[in-house]
């Protein structure tokens, strides 16, 4: 049995939750990859098959939480790919494990750097005196704005939507104000109202799909539609581990577990938590791989999975 080989004192779900708790600024995707690395370290496996099923088991446990599903899925998929590509046919399993752990650390380090790379790229687009609209709270948008303010000393104004239902926008405003950025909280329904007065829109993403569109907190699509109508640039800031192999054509195509929290999945009256913004509405994506047009995303995914 695969999970028999996991030591008893280690619970995937607990470790995962603990990771998220310890570092509030960590994305659930990173936490998932961290957890999987821990699983890799703690597990004894004799064959790759066992390793695979152990990891699959762990992924299933992590997906059984109410955190942003899209990032967990893309993060763990990337990790699986990493395991597949790092396999060695001619070495004993123990040695393989050491190499994998070593590479995993480098991999994780790279991922952790990605947010500051993105912040650096977004910097030139934030100009003095500009007005930015953002949706709710996104860690990477937060860091980009803070960097632009503190490191480059730029003065600008940020409109933040309330971001229902959990109102994460409150926290975003507080965090922006803490470093001295002029932040204004607006209602989710006021997006159309403020759009004419902003210069650009910057949002984060939970997942970036193959078409170059994004999956993000509910309301992002509305914002993108408004931005397009008023000819404002709509920029997305997302780390590359959020790229995922999914090709939704409309909102209904999004997987149910992305849209609804666990206990509401059978309830057809439930509110969706995320929506899909098609690539046509996105001006540019800032990623740690560079500034990409939406069409470049599929190129990256093809390079990895082909």
């Amino acid at each position: 049995m695969p999970d028999a080989s996991v030591k008893k004192d280690f619970s995937v779900q607990q470790y995962f939750a603990q990771q998220m708790e310890e570092d509030k600024s960590m994305s659930s995707g990173i936490a998932a990859i961290k957890t999987l690395l821990m699983v890799l370290e703690r597990t004894k496996f004799d064959t790759v098959h066992i390793l695979h099923s152990t990891i699959q088991e762990a992924v299933k446990e992590m997906r059984n939480t109410d955190l942003s599903q899209a990032a967990i899925v893309s993060g763990t998929e990337l990790f699986m790919r990493f395991i597949t590509l790092a396999k060695f046919d001619d070495k004993p399993m123990e040695e393989c494990k050491q190499i994998m752990l070593h590479r995993g650390k480098i991999f994780l380090e790279k991922l952790l750097q990605s947010r500051s790379t993105i912040a650096h790229q977004a910097l030139q687009f934030v100009t003095d005196g500009c007005r930015i609209l953002t949706h709710s709270r996104s860690r990477v948008v937060l860091q980009a704005l803070i960097d632009a303010h503190t490191k480059s000393n730029k003065q600008f104004q940020v409109f933040v939507t309330h971001g229902g239902p959990d109102n994460a926008g409150d926290q975003m405003v507080a965090e922006l104000e803490k470093v001295g950025i002029d932040a204004i909280l607006i209602l989710d329904s006021a997006v159309g109202y403020v759009m004419e007065s902003v210069d650009l829109v910057m949002v984060g993403a939970e997942g970036v799909v193959e078409s170059g569109g994004i999956i993000n907190r509910i309301g992002s699509f509305t914002m993108a539609l408004c931005a397009r109508e008023m000819k404002k640039p709509f920029y997305v800031l997302a780390e590359s581990f959020k790229f995922t192999r999914l090709y939704p054509l409309n909102q209904r195509d999004l997987p149910v577990e992305y849209k609804y929290i666990k206990r509401q999945r059978d309830n057809f009256k439930a509110h969706p938590m995320v929506d899909y913004t098609p690539p046509a509405y996105i001006t540019l994506l800032f990623t740690d791989l560079g500034i990409l047009t939406p069409s470049a995303v599929s190129d990256e995914l093809i390079k990895l999975y082909l």
């Binding site: 990337l78 790092a86 590479r103 030139q124 687009f125 540019l284 990409l292 069409s295 190129d299 390079k303």
Partner: protein
Amino acid sequence: MLNLLFQSNTITIFEFSPVQILQFKRNLTFKRQNMVEDFDISPHNPPLKAIAGLIHDVKRGKLEGSYNITVKTLDILKKIISVCDWKSAEELMKLIRTQGKILASALPQEVVTANITRRIIKLIREEYDLLQAKVHQITDDSQASLHKLVTQTSDNDISRDYSKPQEGLREALLDHLQEIETEMETCSENVSAQAEEHIHTSEVILTLGHSRSVENFLKRAVKKRENLTIIIAECAPACRGHHLAANLATGSAEIVVIPDSTIFAMMSRVNKVIIGTHSVLANGGLRAACGAYTVALAAKHYSVPVIVLAPMYKLSPVHMCNVEQDAFNLVECAEGVIPYNSLAAKFAKVYSPIFDYVPPELVTLFISNMGGHAPSYVYRLLSELYHPEDYEL
């Protein structure tokens, strides 16, 4: 500070003789030492005389047109490679980068100088890697990608060391520069060779102002196709469209010159819009002559395809962050709009900007010397043309 530098430099027209080269190499080292003493912090390297000469020529309007400027820059950079004293690829890259930076900051409008500099730095990287690869086995591909993120190990992650001297690098570089030179020479021909694929008999073509590539392209089309009607928006106040009309008039096509204000009115009968551009931005947008946006919007309204002729050296890895961004636009002398001695000039402010930004959605196709490309493909061309680390010079 940079401006100061230019003033302090005696500007001469660029002519190389071996003695001169030696002289200004000596000057260069001398000045560098001087600078260190003067400013203490590590200063900008002074521009080589040749570079200063080029800047001077462009500013005085002696050297015009992005093709001529590119060729000239290429020529100077080639001479830097062949005669300057450098020991390693790193040193050479630094030298070229510094000179490229000076050019770019002195002539912010002429992005082609930065483009060709990037291209040459990439060439140096490639040649060095190639020569090194003969000795050690190293993996290629420095581009950041998801695939690399997943497969990398610590050993191939260390950035490459260019500081080792490499035999045969100079010869290999000069050899390959020849290829770029040939490409430059043939690119106009290669672009216009595609005219027949896009222009058919009895079509109505609209263009704006006077672009050399468009002129050659249309000349070719006029030769090969019958009953063409070419509508030329004159592009006031310089009215360079008149030159184009004069140059094309010898053929069998019907030439119509229209004022810029009638672009929209004429668009309904146009089959294709063919324009040139000053440069192509990283997202596939254009920085083109003022009026191009009007043309593109009118074409969009009537669903007329917009074809943009852009040879590869005009592709620039720069993003347009903001229309008011520094160095995006220029205002021309306004005398052409309202003469200084007219009554209106006393009371009215007059502006005459030179460039328009055209967003990529409005462009149907780019035609370069390598073939036709969709605007969404520009990022791929850029990653083939330049090294990502050189996007910022």
